[in-house]
């Protein structure tokens, strides 16, 4: 899953979609995940990093991660996955 190329994410966690004009606030973990995605990390790599950094199991994280991706998809922030 990839963020659309023109999406801007600031260090403070402010996300701006210049196509729709919408902006969003990310919490610390959301920002970390997006930064990892921007670095091109795969879903298992993101999972590994987050479970090593935070006190959360892989299965638990996956549930939250899928929710988060669903939200990004709903807001049309992800590249088309074909």
């Amino acid at each position: 899953m990839k963020l659309k190329r023109n999406i801007a994410v600031s260090e403070s966690g402010f996300l701006f979609d210049p196509t729709s004009g919408e902006s969003y606030s990310l919490n610390e973990q959301g920002l970390e995940i997006l930064n990892l995605m921007k670095e091109g990390k795969s879903t298992p790599e993101v999972n590994e990093y987050m479970t090593e950094t935070y006190d959360i199991s892989s299965d638990e994280f996956e549930k939250y991660y899928l929710d988060f991706m669903g939200l990004l998809r709903q807001f049309k922030l992800l590249e088309d996955e074909r």
């Binding site: 023109n6 210049p18 196509t19 729709s20 004009g21």
Partner: protein, 349 residues
């Protein structure tokens, strides 16, 4: 000497109210021109148009008669004003006056007053009641629509539309009706204010987005900036907005201006539907009141329009800043009764 060319420019639409005219934003843009040193002559229809009293914006204001009093009345007034003020360029900013000035283009030009207005046939074919045909002719998705001249017709066309529908005045105003009662109520409200017909339009679910653009009359887009309203007043006006980065909106604008050889400023009102299609819901044949956002984003479209009116070469804008926001504000301007009196009695301030 600042080396700038001195110009006298007449501008209408000084009603900087909660239903703002484009006059003051246009003037603000012209005052920031790198090439022109402008003297602004305001033309006002009402004594309380705020721009009249904004002396840092408008150098002198004249009352003018409403276009509904007759094209000749309005034209003669403008010609008389120009005898005193030597107007170089006239920028009309109201839909309701455009036709009168378009018809008078030659007479204005003979008096040395330059304009840069759409051709009459182009102006007519993008009319709200002609929009479905316009869409078919030029290949744009347009919501189905129909002009209605009496409330009985609302019942007759019921089978053609599902609620909600949008009811629009021929110049301004739009309401969303969810049932027969609301449709009838809005029909009366709109027709009382703007006359007939009232246009019934299919409601497209999605996000409204807009483009301000300038066509050179030869099919070229001189500039275009897309925007989404961030805050909308109860009159449906943008009170805050943001420039967008959307190639499809720009492509649509270039295609429309190319196909129609649009001459002058315009505002495209579009709906980006939930399935990501663009529907053209309105073409306003003039610069919109939010034009200063385009200036802030790097495209001084009013200045470019003046250059085109004067027959100067204009290089098309190729860029603008994305994510630029405008936020309108209201401001209590203090003036003296003497100013109001002067305008009321003499028609000049």
């Amino acid at each position: 000497m600042n080396g700038k060319r001195k110009l006298t420019i007449a501008v209408t639409g000084l009603n900087n109210t909660d239903n703002p005219g484009p006059g003051i934003p246009v003037i603000r843009a012209l005052r920031e021109s790198q090439d022109f040193d402008v003297r602004i002559i305001g033309m006002a229809y009402e004594n309380l148009e705020p721009g009249i009293y904004m002396h840092d914006m408008v150098d002198k204001t004249y009352r003018v008669p409403y276009p509904s009093e007759g094209t000749d009345m309005l034209l003669n007034r403008v010609l008389d004003i120009s005898k005193i003020e030597k107007i170089d360029v006239l920028i009309p900013n109201f839909d309701a006056e455009l036709l009168a000035f378009m018809k008078s283009r030659k007479k204005l030009a003979d008096a040395g007053i330059h304009t840069f207005l759409p051709e009459i046939d182009r102006f007519e074919e993008r009319n709200k009641n002609n929009l479905p045909d316009f869409g078919k002719k030029y290949g744009f998705k347009v919501p189905s629509g129909q002009p209605v001249t009496n409330p009985e017709e609302l019942k007759e066309i019921k089978e053609d539309f599902d609620y909600p529908v949008v009811l629009k005045g021929k110049f301004y105003d739009a309401y969303i009706a969810n049932n027969d009662d609301q449709a009838a109520m809005y029909f009366h409200k709109i027709s009382a204010k703007w006359g007939l017909p009232v246009i019934i339009q299919e409601y497209i679910r999605g996000t409204e987005v807009n483009v301000v653009a300038l066509g050179d009359g030869n099919g070229n887009t001189v500039g275009a900036v897309p925007m989404r309203k961030l805050y909308i007043t109860d009159k449906g006006k943008a009170w805050a907005g943001i420039t967008l980065d959307d190639e499809r909106m720009l492509e649509l604008t270039h295609r429309l201006i190319g196909a129609t050889k649009w001459r002058g400023g315009m505002e495209l009102e579009l709906i980006r539907s939930d399935d990501d299609e663009f529907y053209l819901i309105e073409i306003n044949p003039r610069i919109p009141a939010w034009v200063y956002l385009a200036v802030g984003a790097g495209q001084n479209l009013p200045e470019a329009l003046v250059k085109l009116a004067l027959g100067m070469e204009v290089s098309p804008f190729t860029e603008y800043k994305k994510g630029i926001i405008f936020v309108r504000y209201s401001f209590d301007l203090i003036t003296d009764i003497n100013e109001f009196e002067k305008l009321s009695i003499s028609g000049i301030l």
